[in-house]
Amino acid sequence: MTVQINIRHAFDGFDLAARFDAPKGVTALFGASGSGKTTIINAVAGLLAPQNGRIVVDGRVLFDSKTGVNTPPNKRKIGYIFQDARLFPHMTVRQNLTYGRPTGPIDAVVDMLGLDSLLGRRPAKLSGGEAQRVAIGRALLSNPDLILADEPLAALDEARKSEILPYFEKLRDHAKVPILYVSHSANEVARLATTVVVLNKGRVTHAGSAETVLSDPTVTPTGVRSAGAVMQARVVTHDDDGLTVLSIGASNLIVPNCDAPVGTDLRLRIAAQDVMIATAPLSGISALNTLPATITAIRKGDGPGALVQLETGGAPFLARITQRSLTALGLTVGQTVHAVIKAVSIDR
């Protein structure tokens, strides 16, 4: 199942021209507000008819300005999770959940999202996080061919965000349909996305796998502290002292607190600020993870910072250092260095 999107739409002095494919998994539409993310997602939902373009979901043409096809939203088989949940206030949670599917079992979704104790309540009596869980369930139960999520966490505080994020991870790993996920948070995108489409002022500037796009130093402004790369790793061994050895490409990483069985594939995030660069092999340092790496790109920011893209065993990642260090060390593209990784977060 894939989604092909090609949209041109101009309004209020804003010109959107976006073309990309969204395969199975989470495709994050990433960009600042006003970059056209919500316009794209509303066009896919059928809530807005773009002036030109074509939208195809799994071979089904939903919109084509040339042939005049414009399937109404209720016939598109999409599950839309809105930023503001948009639960129907006059219905109970159960009635909300079954609105898109009046018959059929709801137990699996209710269990997955932990909604059992909420079923008889009205939306006014739900917390923000609970309401968003119900909204996810309601979209899932309508049996969609495609799930759309428009900044579903933006209205929640940090604690609620970390309460809801795992449900989207479950969704990514278990849903058989593509998920289009709009976000301006690099952190969310790094954690969820399998494919990333970066939008800037109505244009797609980058599109590709999360590993490639998020480690591209031109994507994330150097001022963003949450800039970081995503890597695929595999559990090699669990050592007796409680540490676990992971392999990424040809290199190994040692991490604490990992109980995934040997052979499991994991998704790692390495924040750019947790990577240091050394030009000579290090001795007498407490950090366990020093990887040989090659510099593949350098991007200076507007401030004193710079992002350095590194590659180890085919896996790209980022280091955030100062421009002063960049000059002092004389770093250039193609140079072989040693990357010291201070911290790694494991998502799964």
Binding site: L47, N74, K75, F88, P123
Partner: protein, 232 residues
């Protein structure tokens, strides 16, 4: 109650209740439809429709009554057609009084309902559409229930207006006791004859009681329903 009212007075009260109830029942479905169209749709002639709906509010009631007479009277085109085809007449019948009251109440009912439909968040309707609901289902399950407090308020307002309607009614269907003599026309008639004041005062008291009861009841119902709709 029938004992402290004379048969003529009682007749006027009963007729007024019947006329007002039918006027509301008659105008409500049209009012909901027109209010929804004005609140949600864009179409050519929207301003014209809006103007037509509000016309009875700004025209002198006598003019509205006279226009009704020219349309639905025994010799008028629509009136003749209805009588010949269905054997049904409005002229000088209580049904005519109900029609006049319905038309006079219509703008008030439409206004109240339009405001309450406009207050329903279109985003909820969009959400319902993405969940597979077509226009009719969105209207029946989202828009209508959420606008219900306003619809009730509109219906009660229309009922009060229909109870008090005088000018258009007396022009269109005259003032025939037992046929078209509603509460206001009866009060008017009693005031024209010497010694009629006591009857008029009793009817005035009844008019006040009925109107106040309707207002309080609608306030109460609207509150309960609004609370239910908001889910509290």
């Amino acid at each position: 109650m029938a004992e402290w009212l004379s048969p003529a007075e009682w007749q006027a009260v009963a007729l007024s209740l019947r006329v007002a109830i039918w006027a509301v029942l008659l105008s409500l479905p049209f009012a909901i439809f027109v209010a929804h169209a004005l609140a949600r749709w864009e179409f050519v002639g929207k301003q014209v429709l809006n103007g037509l709906v509000h016309l009875p509010l700004v025209l002198p009631p006598v003019v509205t009554g006279y226009l009704l007479l020219m349309t639905f009277g025994r010799r008028a085109p629509v009136g003749m057609f209805l009588e010949q085809t269905f054997g049904f007449t409005f002229a000088f019948q209580w049904t005519g009084a109900a029609l006049a009251a319905a038309i006079m109440a219509f703008p008030l009912v439409v206004r109240a309902i339009r405001l309450s439909i406009e207050a329903v968040d279109p985003k909820l309707e969009h959400a319902a559409r993405t969940l597979g609901a077509g226009n009719a289902r969105v209207f029946a399950t989202i828009t209508l229930p959420l606008a219900l407090p306003g619809i009730i308020a509109g219906a009660v307002l229309g009922y009060a207006k229909a109870m008090g309607e005088f000018g258009a009614t007396i022009t269109f269907v005259s003032n025939i006791p037992g046929q078209t003599q509603t509460l206001p026309s009866a009060i008017y008639s009693f005031l024209q004859v010497p010694g009629g004041e006591s009857s008029a005062i009793r009817l005035v008291a009844i008019a006040i009681v009925i109107s106040m009861t309707a207002l309080i009841l609608s306030e109460y119902l609207s509150k309960i329903i609004a609370r239910k709709v908001r889910g509290q």
